[in-house]
């Protein structure tokens, strides 16, 4: 019962979010601000995690395939496919759920409990659309760039780790990342991250928008936003993989 109640309320909120904006110019300006806040500010964390994950994937693959039967280029190939298929979309989405999901929920939640949302409503502004739509557009537009960046940096991290530890040569790695390359994997990852970004933004905004009470509830909303976004990312990962790769 509770689940259906929340699903219904979530879709009713989305219905309000996608209403015609009061002024496109203001929404455009807000979207640019959100790209800066949610997107550009996430570059650093995505880059750091990607370089280390690329390195770890490469080293682990190297140690698990330490057999003369396996060609060395397999290390590069495994690192590439792991990054393209899962890490740069799903794992990055889970990290972003923690970073931007909690940010969205706490920001909107605080606006709710300090009556800033009521103030918007009183002025005749569609607060749901004004607060949520720019965030959705910003994250859906920008996260695919983060994913592409993560792929490149992750592969670079793998190369640095592989060569510096001596588990393979540059030639093996470069051959491996080019071997049996399927460009559709990139499209698959970009579709996934765009959908994950939509889920993170809307689920977090939902929890923030319907916060009631005080600062304690803002914290709870923020936690729920991260947990629920993560669950839905994992659920949709299965669904999208089946739909896009089968």
């Amino acid at each position: 019962m509770g689940l259906f109640y929340h699903i219904g309320k979530y879709f009713l909120l989305l219905f309000r979010v996608f209403a015609k904006p009061e002024k496109f110019k203001i929404y455009y300006r807000e979207t640019i601000k959100e790209i800066d806040k949610l997107g550009l500010n996430s570059i650093w964390i995505v880059a750091v995690i990607s370089v280390f994950m690329g390195a770890v994937i490469t080293i682990q693959t190297a140690y698990n395939t330490d057999n003369p039967m396996y060609p060395k280029y397999l290390i590069g190939l495994t690192a590439r496919d792991t990054l393209l298929l899962e890490f740069s979309s799903t794992i990055i989405a889970l990290i972003l759920a923690g970073k931007i999901g909690s940010n969205i929920a706490s920001e909107i939640g605080t606006m709710r409990i300090t009556e800033q949302i009521d103030a918007l409503e009183i002025m005749g502004v569609n607060s749901a659309s004004y607060l949520i739509l720019p965030r959705i557009i910003a994250s859906v537009i920008f996260t695919p760039f983060l994913t592409l960046m993560s792929m490149i940096i992750g592969i670079f991290g793998g190369w640095v780790a592989g060569v510096s530890t001596g588990v393979m040569t540059t030639q093996d790695y470069v051959y491996g990342i080019q071997y049996a390359f399927i460009p559709y994997y990139i499209v698959y990852a970009l579709i996934k991250i765009a959908i994950f970004a939509f889920l993170i933004t809307t689920i977090s905004a939902y929890h923030g928008y319907y916060t009631s009470g005080g600062s304690l509830e803002v914290g709870k909303s923020s936690t729920k936003a991260v947990v629920h976004s993560s669950i839905f990312i994992l659920l949709f990962n299965v669904i999208l993989t089946q739909l896009l790769l089968s």
Partner: protein, 253 residues
């Protein structure tokens, strides 16, 4: 003029407003008074449509506000200004940007025209040299005044104030009261103020409505209030020793 007809509201089956009828007059400061938890804020928020009422009508100069569709309600709200208890200023915007917000959203004025109007409103509430400060950098009294400036930026016909004096020292509270009173007369607005501050009642209460336990218990003017024989109202008004002394002095003369 705002007419409230037989409105009721409950939360989780607990009645909070019980069949309230009241008329708020234009060009006057209409006060809703009552103890904390009596239903004042719910009444105010029900009138402006932030809470959906379960029965009755809220009529703004002949228009039944609570029966309007979403679009018409949005249009109507452009004529409403509201001062919230904490000010409800946008944290990420400066004082000037806060006042310019409704102008940005609903007018086609140029940037300099909007800035001029914002400065005019800020000057009206005696905010000078604070335009570029953020809400976190100004005092509680200033926040309330900026919120009033934002509320009047679009020349509204109706002004609602939810506990405008809460958390303010008596001197600043009187300044805010005077400002509300002056603006009401200047713009010929229908103003409704929620308060439990007896100073406000005596300073600006053209009309006073006493809410007790979710129902309208008494209504009259500030001059009638001391002569009222309503037991609950008297308990509320004469709760402090100061007001008891004032009553005794008045009775002696």
């Amino acid at each position: 003029m705002i007419e409230v007809k037989n409105i009721a509201k409950s939360f989780n089956g607990v009645p909070v407003l019980k069949n309230i009828d009241v008329l708020f007059e234009k060009g006057k400061t209409n006060l809703i008074i009552g103890q904390s938890g009596s239903g004042k804020t719910v009444l105010l928020k029900s009138i402006v449509g932030l809470h959906d009422i379960e029965q009755g009508k809220v009529i703004f100069d002949g228009t039944v506000f609570n029966e309007l569709n979403f679009k018409d309600k949005k249009e109507m709200r452009k004529q409403i200004g509201m001062l919230f208890q904490g000010g409800a200023l946008f944290d990420s915007a400066t004082v000037e940007e806060n006042v310019m917000y409704p102008l940005n959203m609903f007018t086609e004025l140029t940037y300099s025209e909007k800035r001029d109007r914002a400065n005019e409103c800020l000057k009206r509430v005696n905010i000078i040299n604070a335009n570029q400060l953020y809400p976190a950098e100004i005092s509680g009294g200033m926040k309330k005044r900026v919120a009033i400036a934002r509320a009047i930026a679009l020349n509204p016909r109706y002004l609602f104030c939810d506990e405008p004096n809460s958390g303010l020292d008596p001197q600043t509270a009187i300044l805010i009261d005077d400002l509300i009173k002056e603006i009401t007369v200047e713009y010929n607005m229908t103003t409704i103020v929620n308060t439990h501050d007896m100073n406000s009642v005596m300073e600006i209460g053209d009309k006073v409505v006493f809410i007790y336990n979710g129902a309208k218990w008494w209504e009259g003017t500030r001059d009638d209030i001391f002569d009222s024989e309503n037991e609950e109202l008297n308990k509320f008004i004469f709760a402090s020793k100061l007001s008891q002394k004032i009553r005794d002095l008045k009775n002696r003369h």
